[in-house]
Symmetry: C2
Subunit: 238 residues, 2 copies
Amino acid sequence: MKAKPSAKTATLDEQIRGTIEDNIRSGVWKPGDKIASEIDLAAEYGCARATVSKALSTLHRAGLIERRRKAGSFVAFPHVQSAALDIPDIASMIMARGEQYHFELKTQSIRSHRDDDPLNCKGDVLILEGIHHAGGRPFGYEVRHINLNAVPDARIADFGETAPGSWLLEHISWTDARHRICAVQAGGTIAKLLDIASSDACLQLERSTWRQGQGVTWVRQTFPGDRYDLVAEFTPQS
Amino acid sequence: MKAKPSAKTATLDEQIRGTIEDNIRSGVWKPGDKIASEIDLAAEYGCARATVSKALSTLHRAGLIERRRKAGSFVAFPHVQSAALDIPDIASMIMARGEQYHFELKTQSIRSHRDDDPLNCKGDVLILEGIHHAGGRPFGYEVRHINLNAVPDARIADFGETAPGSWLLEHISWTDARHRICAVQAGGTIAKLLDIASSDACLQLERSTWRQGQGVTWVRQTFPGDRYDLVAEFTPQS
DNA sequence: GAGTGGTCTAGACCACAAA
DNA sequence: TTGTGGTCTAGACCACTCC
């Protein structure tokens, strides 16, 4: 199995990776096909084994090949499609569209954690409700819990000025997150806040965020179905 | 959840990466802080520079640090949150739940490409409509276009047996995909097919798929809001 | 000009799984 | 047992960019 080199100002490992990737993506190499060993590829390309190894490791990370000791590397069978979903900061997103952004804080309270809270933690929880506005119109409703043990600074932050999401983005990093996306009918309360009909379909996004096992924040955002699309682009990483 | 004290048989580069990552995630090192140079870190850990380089490269890929020649490496400022969204094969997903899966093909036709088609291609397009059933109940409605130039085998495939998505997964790979997720009201036609009320909220997922610039398939799936959640887990890659 | 990351080499040893 | 990937070393040169 020989492939033609894709000449460019690419690094050597990019060239190797590129030719292999081309062979896989074009279907010349089928799932399950064996790929030459690192040693053979190094000889073929006249380079060090480490360079081939880097190229193959990258392809493995990208899910294009499987690697097994002693057995070798193989073209991977297609797996579930995975897409990089950007969960943008709402304020930035709206301003990027050229619309004016404004966060309207509806309620703010602190109470100790209850068992039925979505955020699994101890101590005090800051609970915020508010409306995101784009161009003067309501764009989304959000209710958020913040673990004050994890983010003590939130106790004295002014969320009338900065949306909680934007504030948190600048004040804390996270290690794990889980998103849940579903469609719901607005219902009376939210419909009134968003100025839509109570039967209108809304996109609801829930996100739980942890930092090293400690719950940081939980948020549920509700957007009118016709005002917000989530878009995920996927291009294989290099 | 992330195992932090990997006091296990962690490789050296994992240990280095872990130590730095802990310092960043715990907030000991703030965004913008300078990280010791590769040479200094190599001296500190008593290892080769390449090992430190690998650890830092991984952290850079994960978005935790910025790297600039001559200047050095720095703790990155938090950026947009990005999550790996798995778009699973519906048949596999339902069977994984232990429910019985069945695809009911409603219509199948071939016609030449029209300008208003979502799939940008030339030649004949295969158009399929059908219902995904889980446990005997309708689970989702799907309309799909397939570019027969890109997937000639689809002309003779039997989609009464295999759902188009599952069939394609086994017969073609893709290089680029774009997803759009929104919430809509079911409307009369789909409500009847899915046995729900026409005002019920539905999650609608559109996916366009390309292989090396050539459109492969476009699909729009509609799920009752209460029967399907998209879930995205995210843990920074190692 | 000089310091840093980016890449590459030609070895080496080990762990693992297949033969 | 043996081949293969996984990791690591101690160098090297280059490209970039900050000073």
